[in-house]
Amino acid sequence: MSYVIAEPCIDQQDQSCVAVCPVDCISADPASDRKFYIDPDGCIDCGSCETACPNQAIFRSDQLPPEWARFALVDATWFSDPARARRAVDELLPAA
């Protein structure tokens, strides 16, 4: 189990989650990414990011709303293939 950042983060990127994550497992490239990503291997399930997020974008992976279920894979993918994760984000919510 880990936490996952879902659609409400896209094009928002508030960064409150980054400020509170005790293990620095939330990342993004500000030049290329439209959202933040949680490393499922680094996440310790503390939930601090979920509480801190002003956009209600973060969920436990087992509590993701069904319409955002793919974001679990998107987050995990970013840490091995960021370009693929970005394409998936654009497919899930095309840029305005």
Binding site: Q15, S16, V18, A19, V20, C21, P22, V23, D24, C25, S27, A28, D29, P30, S32, D33, D39, D41, G42, I44, D45, C46, G47, S48, E50, T51, A52, R60, W78, F79, S80, P82
Partner: protein
């Protein structure tokens, strides 16, 4: 974390995307220790103060913040966040108040570490920090090891300029056993020196033989906090309350404060683990 008070977080730089971002300072299969265990001071068999020295210069933290403390175990970096009891200083030493969790992933291993063991310390994080409105009274209520960040904050304000110190400081510490009253001597000394500081420990199991001879306050912390509000005649518009530790105690205390009309922005809370009834925690220490 339930930071309902004011104050913006200082954001860490966003790490660039790479082949794989480093989680907590270490790539898979690589342990990059940056700190050393200096000593462990046992309060009981299951509660101890750990003193850790970071390599190189101290990394500034804000009083009340937490850091991830990690060891190498089973081929991976195993880490959990702990609030430091140390105030910001240049010494590079940080102290943590830790409860050993039976069958936990990390803490039983921490107790096995010898002096000089190498550790991984993360960067300071967290929003349980002093409210900038220093003209307000500050009430600190901690359960168990939740006292650590409060010690850090108190040490910082008592060592700082008088105008930055709240006019009244009330510290309530709730524990099960007298021996778990960490920093009791320090708090009693502070209370003796500083007229505006009151220290009120509370024991929740007064009937236990281990607490024989205790003649101080007894009961649950949330109720003790509620009573203290009345006894000290605190002004709900001129007081900030800091809650730290057991999430159920925090939830109960928050309800009582709300019933007293304390505004949400005057409550700063940090829960140490997750329960189904209280939602996510900031710091899951249950291992």
């Amino acid at each position: 974390m339930t930071r309902i008070a004011t104050g913006a977080a200082v954001l860490d730089p966003v790490r660039p995307a790479g082949p794989r971002a480093l989680a907590g300072g270490g790539a898979p299969g690589v342990f990059t220790p940056n700190a050393t265990l200096v000593r462990r001071l046992d309060l009981t068999a299951s509660v101890a103060r750990f003193v850790v020295r970071r390599d190189g210069p101290a990394i500034p933290h804000v009083a009340g913040q937490y850091l991830a403390l990690g060891i190498w175990a089973d081929g991976r970096l195993l880490q959990r966040p702990y609030s430091t009891a140390s105030p910001p200083s240049a010494s590079g030493e940080l102290e943590f108040l830790i409860r050993r969790v039976p069958h936990g992933a990390l803490t039983p291993r921490l107790w096995e570490l010898p002096r000089g063991a190498r550790l991984r310390l993360g960067s300071p994080k967290g929003l349980l920090t002093l409210d900038p409105r220093r003209d307000r009274a500050a009430v600190f209520a901690a359960s168990g090891t939740g006292l650590a960040p409060i010690i850090s904050m108190l040490a910082a304000v008592l060592a700082g300029p008088a105008e930055a110190c709240p006019p009244r400081l009330l510290v309530l510490h709730g524990v099960s056993y007298v021996a778990e009253l960490a920093y009791r001597g320090r708090l009693e000394r502070w209370a003796a020196i500083h007229p505006g500081l009151a220290y009120e420990p509370v024991i929740s199991r007064p009937g236990d033989p281990l607490n024989a001879g205790w003649n101080g306050a007894v009961g649950h912390l949330d109720l003790a906090l509620d009573a203290a509000w009345q006894r000290h005649r605190l002004d709900r518009q001129r007081t900030v309350t800091y809650l730290c530790g057991n999430p159920e105690v925090i939830a109960a205390a928050t309800r009582l404060l709300a019933a007293r009309g304390v505004p949400p922005d005057a409550i700063v809370a940090e829960r140490y683990w997750t329960t189904p009834n209280t939602g996510p925690s900031a710091l899951d220490r249950a291992s």
